[in-house]
Amino acid sequence: MINFFGIRHLSPAGAFYLRQYLDGIKPELVIIEAPNDFEDTVQDIVRNETKPPFAILAYTQTVPVRTVLYPFAEYSPEYQAILWCYENNVRLQFMDIPSKTFLALSDMKIRQAEQADEIDEDEQRPDVYELISEKSIDGSHETFWERTLEHCENYEAYREGANLFGENIRAFSEKDGFDAEETAMREIHMRSVLRSAVKSGISPEKIVAVTGAYHVEGLKSWETEEELPEFPEIPSLHTLMPYSYYRLSTRSGYGAGNNAPAYYELIKDGLQKGDRLYHANAYLSKIAEKMRENGNAASSAQVIEAMRLACSLAKMRGGNIPTLRDLRDAAQTCIGEGSFAAISVACADTEIGTKIGELPDGVSRTSIQDDFYRLLKELKLEKYRSVTSQELRLDLRENLRASTEKSAFLDLNRSFFLHKLRVLGMNFAQLIGNTQTNATWVEAWNLCWTPESEIVLVESALKGDTVELAASFQIKETVEQAQEMPVIAKAVDDAFCCGLPTAISYAVSALQAAAVDAVSFEELARTAFSLSNVISYGDIRKADCSAVEPILKQLYYRACLIMGSACVCNDDASKAIAEAIDMLNSVELAQGFLETEKWITALKEVSSRDDLNTKLSGLCTAILLERNKMTNDELKTEVSRRLSKGVPADLGAGWFEGLTLKNRYGLIARLSLWESLDEYINSLDEEEFKRALVFLRRAFADFSANEKDSIAENLGEIWGLNGAQVSEVLNAELDEAAKEMIDGLSDFDFDL
């Protein structure tokens, strides 16, 4: 009889007891449930420099890319079995279907799901793990597993428990459907591997098969000869890659990962130390330690109390050893004073942790990694691949003293490269905001290498074989999924920064398609703004912007046409629109090929209409003034019209507020404006004045003291006063009566 050891893929007790079990059996051959084409990774897995967590990633070479990922932590039973074989010089074999078949199956599954996307939810049987959660006293299958199996006292108990667990899960699982077929196919394959192992002359007693607890029952019938089905295949590749506890924790669900890797590592430590409460003590102490690190109080007394509470919680559930849930609840009660929020950060640190795996140099090599390291060398960036962060300033202009074209544009090429990494989401390169405004040729980056960067890089292999291909793929994907126009415009910008002509044309045509649909004025303006940036920067990046110009023109005309109707809004909405108007103005100023006349007409329309948001009308007037499209006389008429007696004071003051949003110095310098304002104020009666005063005060609220002084001087000049005297009066302390009057304004009732 072959010796089966049923496990869960990430299980400290499984890993620990499996070793004891192997020591006891002393097998000649160990067979592990893992794709059999992964056997070539073993030589790298056993190397000293390999530090878990790591993963084996298999991916298809064809589009759409499908992947399977096999993560390993130090407490993976499979990993310990591999190490054991290496240490004891015992033969090792993998028995699962090859990854290319896995990928083919998952491809078929996804396609099937896409075709029949409307599955009746009611008809789906409840997941067997949900059933366990429901039935178990702990209300969660994770806790159930931990309490019953991770805290087993010896390997016999674990092995029997796990096998029984697998048997039961099997009995309650779906008997038909795609997953069941896949399982059947895998088990046929595994049985055939077991059969041929025995046939090769090893006695079954000297074979240990390490497999998921679920499969133990299915593999017991290995002796029966059966015909192998045809295994579908997709061309694929696989590689080892470093992994992190954080990523492990986000892949919850049976087999793929667990949600508290750092905590499970504590259980593993406890098993090795032979201290069955080690994990509980360590967990609570670590929480207290993290709390203190974050500046919160957490005393040893609290840890002791939490420990006692956790133990008595475990007892209520019929256990002796607290589980994660008991511990967390105890920590919340005793250390967090009843609130989980107080300990949540410490909990995340203690349960998930920040551990990142390592692989020896050169082991994890996908084509994109090769490309990345080649480019790093070519662009002389190798010294930045270190864990201390370094700043890099790039001058994108041609270096005229350089001898070759390559070195002349070194910085530009570096910029392209770093932008591609940024698009791929690698945290290696962070763009620091431009320090020098409008210097389109300067770029500052912060470069810092972390193992996490390597992980992202390996994962980018799924997007393309080179950094360039991956970045284009990413941009295309962003464009395809984009719901809003500004997102696409951002993608166009990205494509320019990366210097990817094909991605540019793709994104631009997507933008054109999106622009046909109705979009709001603000979206148009924001999109136009980022396109205008692209065009301004295009020159320095040696990019051809001719494709962008027509679409910018289109957007610009549309924006000009709908600006009038967009200005019908309340004060809350007006802020965003004011920004949009400002953006559009700068677009028009920056791009010479746009028809200025259209913009001026639009501005004049908003400026002169009375039925729009007065603040926005004021802003347009201000822009017209700034661009010298309005004479002093025209302004004077406009001021007196806007501020005439019949107009409600809030509207008048709102207009004035809009007027002051732009170019204040220009306004302050225009004496005629202040004359009109003076006339307006003089025309008001007492009650109206009070009302206007409040609004005007708001309009001038964010003027600086200097600006206010200049305004006062202006008014003084109009009234024929001496500047020094005015200043003296204005800067004197308020007397009681004046104070009272101003305070009285706070109670002013605007509804009258």
Partner: protein, 361 residues
């Protein structure tokens, strides 16, 4: 059971259930307790023992009940914190009823609570006549709890003055009470503990000192998580209460309970249940307990002045009082709720809407 008593203590009201649990006990019983921690949980959260059905006393958040019980198994004191009406006192009463069979060792914390009320005071006539003696001593509930190895309850602890609260520190850490007048030291027997309750709305009135807090395990009782849970609580409690109070009215229908709970939850959270609309919240808490008393009140109205069926008018009267407490703003929030939310909910709500609107005109 004596029917003339307005409100029976829990241990008498649920005597049968308690006896059944004690009889069927299989697990080890902690010293000073009447049943095992597991049976206490069954008593509180409901279940079945032999043929006796145990009614649930606290619905939802079973884990919190477990933590509370597990706390009392260790020698730590338990502090229940929550918004008003989240069943803090209710839970503490039932815990002591199940553990000791006596929920009456209570000190009600008020601004006027003195240190003597927590430790002991004297029968002054006897004190003056005979001098200090044990007979002249008036022992506080905490004192007797220590002597008997039982649990004492301190309600609304945060309403007591800080120095009074701090009296508990030495009691909880030394686990003994000293009477210097008689040179007497009374050590607490095993099983002694304290369950205190505190209100989150009272935060800042008399905040508990860190030293005292440290001696408690703190369990925060939240408002019911889902509408179904809250309806379940309201329904169970209204049934129990109306039995005791002889209200002569039919129990409220499910849709009535649903309406009340919906209104309370929405106003409490400041948004509609489907999260599509923001609302003004009221200054009052609108707790589950208030929903229960509102329905009992409506039943009393229907029983005494109506036809025994709760009508929309009966509920409207109760709602008005519950929602609009003393603040003008509550009135505004309520009116807005009526016009913006309730009015648009269609036929099923129109009766209640009209009844409420009439009261607001």
């Amino acid at each position: 059971m004596d029917n003339s008593i307005l409100r029976l203590p829990a241990e008498q009201l649920f005597e049968e259930e308690l006896n059944a649990l004690i009889k069927a006990e299989k697990d080890p019983i902690p010293e000073g307790w009447r049943m095992s921690p597991r049976s206490v949980k069954t008593y509180i959260c409901g279940g079945k023992v032999g043929k006796t059905v145990i009614t649930p006393k606290y619905i939802g958040h079973e884990r919190l009940v477990e933590i509370a019980i597990a706390t009392l198994v260790t020698d730590r004191a338990l502090l229940l914190i929550g918004e008003p009406g989240t069943a803090k006192s209710w839970l503490s009463e039932h815990l002591t009823a199940a553990i000791n069979g006596n929920s009456s060792r209570v000190i009600q914390g008020t601004a006027g609570t003195t240190e003597e009320q927590i430790r002991y005071s004297w029968n002054y006539a006897m004190l003056i006549a005979n001098g200090p003696s044990e007979e002249a001593m008036l022992k506080s509930p905490v004192f007797t709890a220590m002597e008997d190895g039982a649990i004492a309850r301190v309600e609304e602890i945060s309403r007591c003055a800080s120095e009074v609260q701090d009296t508990l520190i030495s009691l909880l850490s030394e686990k003994r009470i000293s009477v210097p007048e008689l040179s007497l030291e009374v050590p607490a027997k095993k099983g002694f503990s304290i369950i205190a309750t505190a209100n989150t709305r009272d935060k800042g009135v008399n905040d508990m000192s860190a030293a005292l807090k440290r001696r408690f395990n703190i369990v925060v009782l939240p408002a019911p998580e889902t509408l179904e849970e809250e309806m379940n609580i309201v329904k169970t409690r209204v049934e129990q209460l109306s039995e005791n109070l002889d209200l002569n009215a039919a129990l409220p229908k499910d849709e009535v309970i649903e309406k009340i709970c919906t209104i309370f939850r929405e106003l409490r959270k400041g948004e509609t249940l489907d999260k599509k609309q923001k609302l003004k919240t009221t200054a009052g808490v609108l707790s589950t307990a208030e929903a229960i008393s509102l329905l009992c009140n409506s039943m009393a109205l229907a029983g005494s002045f109506g036809n025994g069926e709760i009508s929309d008018e009966d509920i409207a009267a109760g709602l008005q009082g519950a929602v609009v407490k003393d603040d003008d703003k509550d009135g505004v929030a309520w009116k807005e709720y009526l016009e913006n939310i309730m009015k648009k909910r269609g036929m099923a709500w129109s009766g209640l809407y009209n009844a409420c609107r009439e009261l607001n005109e």
